[in-house]
């Protein structure tokens, strides 16, 4: 009860502070002092504190199962384990918006601390733009999705959290993803501020690069966590389904990656200024669009909580206002910087980065159209369609070939004008890649020509970056690590999809099922009762063709509040392959439906994504060391 009130009033105080902050910073803007008024920093800190207090009090309500709070009532239950009571705080619409606010205020505070060497007016303007976003979200939370609504009479028991969300990976997925997703707001605000101050320069590039990196690292890891969760929880054995909800997280990632490369040109050569600003604006806009699509209930998924049209309309108007504001500022204030020489030659680092950006934009266009087109068609012709994985695969996979080749050659070029050095060793590496691929592919039943070319390109990147790691030990190691991670990612995804095998069958207890490579024996089932679910645990013995037997114990959980049945896959992970078994129950039937998959190199997909972000991390800390 008390926590409820504290949380609510902290939010209102936070909103008032936003208004106050705007007032103080506008007053401070025209003063001649070199540093910004110390009060601004304190106020910003205070605002952060209020949002934290509000967030903590929601957590407290969840821990205490305080069902006088509507959000807690809708999403919690007394029998839920403590860990999931806490993670339930952001596992719903209201709480997750509070997390948005928390990240927004946290980032602007950190920005103010970390940008002391930057021009004063630029810092104040960044703060102002960020406060506009913050005010928008405060209003959004308070008007349409207040997490502290009262319920009277107080119910005895809550409705419970969707069981598929009760999972360790999914408990930390939202906070991590949000740090990346919402983190892009600071890039948006500061790029607008930089445009108005005509400060899109090398110095700005160096300073904003850190923020781009931070968002990028968190976004990468956040997407990976969601993907890991989908892999073992949804029971399809895949890790990426080209589901619209996944796509909306991938789109900002693509623009952010493009921005990261573009910033490198900006900080060295002070060119591509307009492009950097456009990318910054686009990235945040895409994050907001994602929130709109997911929250408004237009896209259906596990992320769609109780739908309320008012919420969708609010975000849409807010989004529209932000786009108009940012484009207006861009066109009015932006001047092309002609001081530095903008010309560069075809064969140079700049061109290769531009090529990267072109590919990123192409991938973005594909994903964007695939995601938005069905919605669009539904609105204008009420025809229902869905765009499946083949669409994306067909349009993206072939373009990976030139992309990978450019990625192997690009970083070896020098700025402004360059020649390809060590041609011979490159050619040798290339020949080795092709031969290696050919020998691997020859023994497989796959489309020979296409995969040979594709995998050769991936191996080429793999070997060139690997060589770089050993030869030029510390020269631009972060970039090499990331690119190496990317080549490993592509290789493991490709081999994973070519070599995966799957068996689906209906089976009774005690039955054996023979398939061409082995045998599945359904030994027994056991029942077990937990606090918030009953589970059926099955034991299967799986014999592969070498006669080696493993035992897998997939589980079916029947949650009591709300009553939902989930399947927990049992996965045996080794460095070489994952063995994945999931079973389903068909009501009133003695058959169990099982799906057994062998997925080679699965764990390498996660490892390579970690390597990719490790590269980002190394770049982030490079100058401090």
């Amino acid at each position: 009860m008390l926590a409820n009130q504290i949380g609510y009033y902290s939010l209102i105080l936070g909103l008032l502070l936003s208004v106050l902050l705007c007032g103080v910073s506008i007053k401070d803007f025209n003063k001649t002092n070199k540093q910004i008024n110390q009060n601004i920093l304190s106020l910003s800190f205070l605002q952060l504190v209020f949002v934290i207090v509000s967030f903590l009090s929601l957590i407290v309500s969840f821990i205490n199962s305080d069902f006088s709070n509507e959000t807690v009532f809708n999403n919690s239950h007394t029998t839920k384990p403590l860990f999931y009571k806490i993670s339930g705080t952001w596992g719903n619409h209201e709480g997750s918006l509070l997390l948005w606010l928390l990240v927004l205020t946290l980032f602007i505070f950190l920005f103010l601390i970390k940008s002391r060497e930057q021009p004063k007016k630029y810092r104040i303007l960044t703060l102002l733009f960020q406060q506009i976003i913050i005010i928008g979200f405060f209003l959004f939370v308070l008007i349409t999705s207040n997490p502290f609504n009262y319920l009277f009479p107080i119910p005895n028991e809550g409705l419970g959290l969707n069981p598929i969300l009760q999972d360790p990976a999914l408990a930390i997925h939202p906070p991590i993803l949000y740090l990346g997703y919402v983190g892009t707001s600071i890039i948006f605000s500061s790029s607008l501020a930089a445009v108005t101050q005509n400060y899109v320069t090398k110095e700005w590039g160096q300073h904003i690069k850190k923020w781009v990196l931070v968002s990028w690292i968190f976004l990468t890891i956040g997407i990976m966590l969601g993907s890991i969760w989908a892999y073992y929880e949804l029971g399809w054995g895949g890790f990426w389904f080209w589901d619209p909800v996944e796509n909306v997280s991938l789109m900002p990632w693509l623009t952010l990656t493009a921005l990261l490369h573009c910033i490198v040109v900006l900080e060295r050569r002070a060119s591509l200024t307009s492009w950097a600003v456009v990318l910054s604006i686009t990235t945040f806009t895409l994050s907001m669009c994602g929130t709109f699509l997911v929250r408004s209930g237009i896209l259906n998924s596990v992320h769609t909580f109780a739908n309320d049209p008012a919420r969708g309309i609010f975000i849409l108007i807010f989004l529209f206002a932000l786009i108009v504001l940012s484009l207006g500022i861009f066109f009015i204030f932006h001047k092309e910087n002609n001081k530095s020489s903008n010309n560069f030659f075809w064969l140079s680092r700049e061109t290769s980065i531009l090529i990267n950006n072109w590919f990123m934009m192409y991938f973005l266009a594909v994903v964007l159209i695939g995601t938005v087109y069905p919605i669009f068609l539904d609105v204008i012709s009420s025809e229902k369609i869905s765009v499946g994985p083949p669409f994306y695969q067909k349009l993206i996979v072939p373009f990976l070939i030139p992309f990978l080749l450019f990625m192997s050659l690009g970083p070896r070029l020098k700025w402004i004008k360059s020649k390809i050095e060590n041609k011979n060793s490159l050619i040798i590496t290339f020949i080795i890649s092709v031969m290696l691929t050919f020998f691997i592919i020859k023994n497989l039943t796959a489309d020979l020509l296409f995969y040979t070319v594709l995998i050769s390109a991936a191996f080429f990147l793999f070997f060139t970056t690997l060589k770089e790691l050993f030869i030029k030990k510390f020269n631009n190691i972060s970039q090499t690590v990331s690119h190496f991670g990317f080549s490993l990612l592509i290789l493991s995804i490709l081999f994973n999809s070519i070599l995966s095998s799957e068996i689906i069958t209906n089976i009774k207890i005690g039955e054996r099922y023979d398939y061409n490579k082995g045998e599945i024996f359904f030994k027994k089932i056991e029942e077990r009762n937990e606090s918030n679910f009953n589970s059926i645990i099955a034991s299967f013995e799986i014999k592969d063709k070498n006669g080696k037997t493993i035992e897998l114990k997939p589980e079916i959980r029947i949650y009591n509040q709300p009553i939902i049945i989930t399947s927990e896959a049992d996965i045996r992970t080794t460095l070489l392959e994952d063995k994945f078994l999931v079973m389903n129950l068909v009501k009133g039937n003695e058959y169990f439906n099982i799906r057994y998959q062998v997925k080679p190199f699965m764990v390498w997909i996660w490892i390579s994504v970690l390597l990719l972000s490790l590269g980002g991390l190394m770049s982030l800390f490079k100058r401090e060391i």
């Binding site: 598929i164 369609i385 389903n584 068909v586 058959y591």
Partner: protein
């Protein structure tokens, strides 16, 4: 006649234009091939020509219509006006049950028989795919 810079700009723009056109063309082309339409049993009944392409059918699983043996699942999807028989080999989602909403993806054999290649999973028992809701006419 023109400076080198202008020429370079021009080539650059032409390249961008060319790649944009290529992108649009490619995307539209594969959209045409890879889009899956959603139809209700009644819409299928009123088809004049059978489509060879992959479609989705949605509605309710009819009561007492699920039959399972060791390699396939048979059931009937209804929108309370018309029905269609579904034959499916593969894993069914947990919430697949009689009297619940369902979406099946696959190919039409004729107007009464549908071979499903995928049954779409739902995440909770109250959730109804919007297409199914519409197909059932807000029941």
């Amino acid at each position: 006649m023109y400076g080198k810079k202008v020429k370079l700009r021009f080539i650059f723009l032409a390249l961008i234009l060319a790649s944009v056109i290529l992108t649009v063309f490619l995307v539209l082309q594969s959209l045409k091939e890879n889009v899956v339409y959603f139809q209700s049993p009644s819409e299928i009944k009123s088809l004049i020509e059978l489509n060879k392409k992959k479609i989705r059918v949605g509605g309710m699983v009819k009561e007492q219509s699920i039959f399972i043996d060791s390699d396939k699942v048979n059931f009937v999807i209804t929108d309370f006006k018309n029905e269609i028989n579904i034959v499916y080999t593969g894993a069914v989602p947990n919430l697949f049950a009689e009297g619940k909403g369902v979406v099946a993806e696959g190919f039409l054999k004729d107007k009464n028989y549908f071979t499903a290649t995928k049954i779409l999973a739902k995440h909770d028992e109250n959730y109804m795919p919007p297409e199914v809701k519409e197909a059932l006419g807000d029941k």
